[in-house]
């Protein structure tokens, strides 16, 4: 059930009505309804994986309590590691086993040893990377005594399985979401309206930007050997906007839907393409994952406390692991590695926290510098996206090489029977709207909100791509 589907448009009002008019007696009834709705939502993808989700939930619930109750450090450690290993084990089997098996076999073959890998015939359960990380953060926080274990199974299940964030995040923290779940929600008109704005803006990003850019980006990437420099540059830009519109659009809808139920989720995107350097980009892109890796990997590894080499090592580890989190392919690893390389000069010059303030542009030289630094950062990001999107690292390298060697900047007709330059105006307008509203969560709230909502609906209907129906990219992670 996609957020941009008719099925969801029916599902959401039904759950909303039941939540506020039938199951509104106390927080337990509210939570029970949301759990049922969430499990139904998840089973629409594949009901068989519901058992995996319930098992994973129960495992973390039980081990969390055992860690808290554990009288000796040995017992606490046992339950902690059991949870970590089982969670990562599921992730490893479903997501990474085939990759490692085939890579190892290729390595042996290249060394002259004949080997045919034993591959598992499994499909990746939707959302497994997201709900596994929910569970992991919960168990780690209990082990390090940052939070208390949750004894109410329904409340804990809702924290893991809450349908707006179940399949593509944001990756929530028990410290943030569980306290909200523990109290009865009261309806708040302004919050609900804010939710509607976010849902509509999320749809704008998804159906106008992401799904419209997708066929152009696909046409360029799938035929890159016959594309000229101009088309290849445009292809990378289209993919940059496709993935941004797709993922941040999903997050916006998730946050908006959640506000309708009186629950605030963590913000996941903050206009990342307006970043002035890569460090700022990573503070604005997929914030819930970046902060997860910072808190549960970078800091436990020693963070930036242990000297320069440790800082560099830890930086590379979190970027590469973050890349690998996206999928079992060398291209994701390369994408993570490239971002680490981008980050390195900032780290070495101690300027990775330079751009913490809000961006202001005026008619002066400094503003030109800011503008150029935004363009430069965006260009770096696009280069990295080429690795993320390409089928293999070789394809990515050849793609980038061809941008330089083709030296042809004429307009090209793509195999989707459209010209490569067609979307530039649309993307330009989108960027201007986001730029003018970068201090807000979304551009629709504030003055003239009714008119802006009407225009957004009109734009979705008139300019959206619906027939070439696309699922959200991050569902595959």
């Amino acid at each position: 059930m996609f957020f941009n589907s008719i099925a969801f448009a029916i599902f959401l009002p039904i759950v909303f009505f039941l939540y506020w008019f039938v199951f509104n007696k106390n927080k337990s009834t509210q939570n029970a309804l949301l759990i049922i709705a969430s499990y139904y939502f998840y089973s629409c993808w594949d009901w068989r994986f519901l058992f995996l989700l319930v098992f994973s939930t129960f495992l973390d619930y039980y081990t969390g309590i055992q860690i808290e109750k554990g009288k000796s450090e040995k017992s606490r450690k046992f339950w902690f590691w059991l949870s970590i290993l089982v969670n990562l084990g599921f992730l490893g089997v479903f997501k990474y086993y085939n990759f490692f098996a085939s890579s190892f076999s290729e390595l042996l073959n290249s060394a002259g040893v004949k080997a045919s890998p034993f591959l598992l015939n499994v499909i990746l359960p939707v959302g497994i990377s997201f709900y596994t990380f929910h569970g992991l953060s919960y168990v780690i926080d209990i082990y390090f005594k940052r939070i208390k274990a949750e004894y109410n199974f329904v409340d804990y299940s809702l924290f893991v399985s809450y349908f707006p964030l179940l399949v593509a995040g944001p990756i929530e923290r028990a410290t943030h979401l569980l306290p909200e779940i523990k109290v009865k929600r009261e309806f708040d008109l302004e919050n609900a309206k804010q939710g509607i704005y976010q849902i509509i803006w999320g749809l704008v990003k998804k159906v106008i930007i992401a799904d419209t850019c997708a066929p152009y980006a696909n046409a360029v990437f799938d035929n890159y050997t016959s594309m000229n420099s101009f088309s290849l540059i445009l292809g990378a830009i289209y993919f940059a906007f496709q993935i941004y519109g797709d993922f941040s659009g999903y997050s916006d809808i998730a946050l908006g839907v959640s506000k309708l139920f009186g629950l605030d989720l963590l913000r996941n995107f903050n206009y990342p393409y307006f970043s002035r350097d890569i460090a700022e980009f990573w503070r604005r892109w997929h914030i819930s994952l970046s902060s997860w890796f910072r808190d549960y990997l970078y800091i436990p590894l020693g963070g930036s406390k242990g000297g320069l080499w440790m800082k560099i090592r830890n930086t590379f580890i979190i970027f590469v692991v973050s890349g690998f989190w996206h999928g079992a392919n060398w291209t994701y690893l390369a994408w993570g590695f490239i971002n680490a390389v981008y980050f390195l000069p900032l780290l070495l010059s101690n300027s990775n926290r330079n751009n913490m303030d809000t961006i202001q542009l005026k008619f002066n030289f400094d503003s030109v510098k800011v503008f150029l630094s935004i363009l430069y950062t965006f260009a770096l990001t696009c280069i990295a996206w080429v690795f993320f999107r390409a089928k293999t690292i070789t394809d990515a390298v050849l793609y980038l090489k061809r941008i330089i060697t083709s030296k042809d900047f004429s307009f090209q007709y793509l195999d989707n029977e459209r010209y490569s330059y067609e979307l530039l105006l649309m993307i330009g307008i989108f960027v201007l709207i986001e730029w003018n509203n970068r201090s807000k969560v979304e551009p629709l709230s504030g003055k003239w909100s009714t008119l802006k909502v009407a225009l957004a609906i009109l734009a979705i209907m008139a300019f959206g791509t619906f027939s070439d129906y696309k699922e959200f990219i991050y569902f595959q992670f």
Binding site: F187, K193, I457, M461, G464, T465, F466
Partner: protein, 293 residues
Amino acid sequence: MKKFLIYIAKISVVTVLIAFLLDGLYTYIFMHSNNRGKIEKVFNSKAQKYDVVFLGSSRANNHFVAQMFEDKGLKAFNYGMSGGHLFEASLMLKLMIERKYEIKNVILEADLNLSNEHQAEGISARFLPYIHNSEVIKDHFSNEADFNELYYIPFYRYIKYDGKIGFREAFFISMNRRTNAQDNLGYYQLEKHKNGNMKNNIVNLNPLKHNKYYEEIKNICKAKKINFISVMTPICENTKGMNYFDKVKKAYPEIHNYENVVIEDKYFSSCGHMNDAGAKMFTARIIKDFFKK
């Protein structure tokens, strides 16, 4: 909560109003289109007189050289639509009749397309802007599963088929940007492709015994006293399941089998489509067999 429900109701009303507004605007634009495609050309035309009209899929569009008929003094137009099935061919003929066309001969390409009665959505969608302005279009779609949504929900058809009749197409019509669909009297010539696929496998294809839309075309021609000629057009030699054409002949004895009048690969652009040279050979044979004066 009451205020919020009123707010949602307002948004819903605004959405419906926008849908009506856009539906009206897009339909108006499509009603004034006549240089983008064959369907628009027929819908927005007045009564025409033709000696010969060609119908069918790409195997009609790329195979009947209408100009060769014109050279013989016969007014002709190739209304074959690449990607189309008999569903669309039948509707096209109905639309012509609704527009009071006077047609002496219909040549229908009827071979591979006899194997199904489905609509080809990419092509049939182009009729949908006119669904409220043409009884035959409305009736033709009335048995389709999503007819109620397409007919009654404003703007739904433009959203569902946005790739074909959405903003981009409406914009190009407004800009009066033409396509080549009507060039060469509707015939679209193909070139010889170096890497053209010269293999085909139609083993699993079977002609339906009484194809609804084939029978419709035949019956319309009979009722309107139009000479109906149905033909199977050539396919490359390297095709598995060539007995398909025998099965067609058995089920429909009136269909003329021209599958093997052009066989050499050099006359094909791909296995199912002849190039210009092949199309001219084939058309010459059709003229010789049916229009020899």
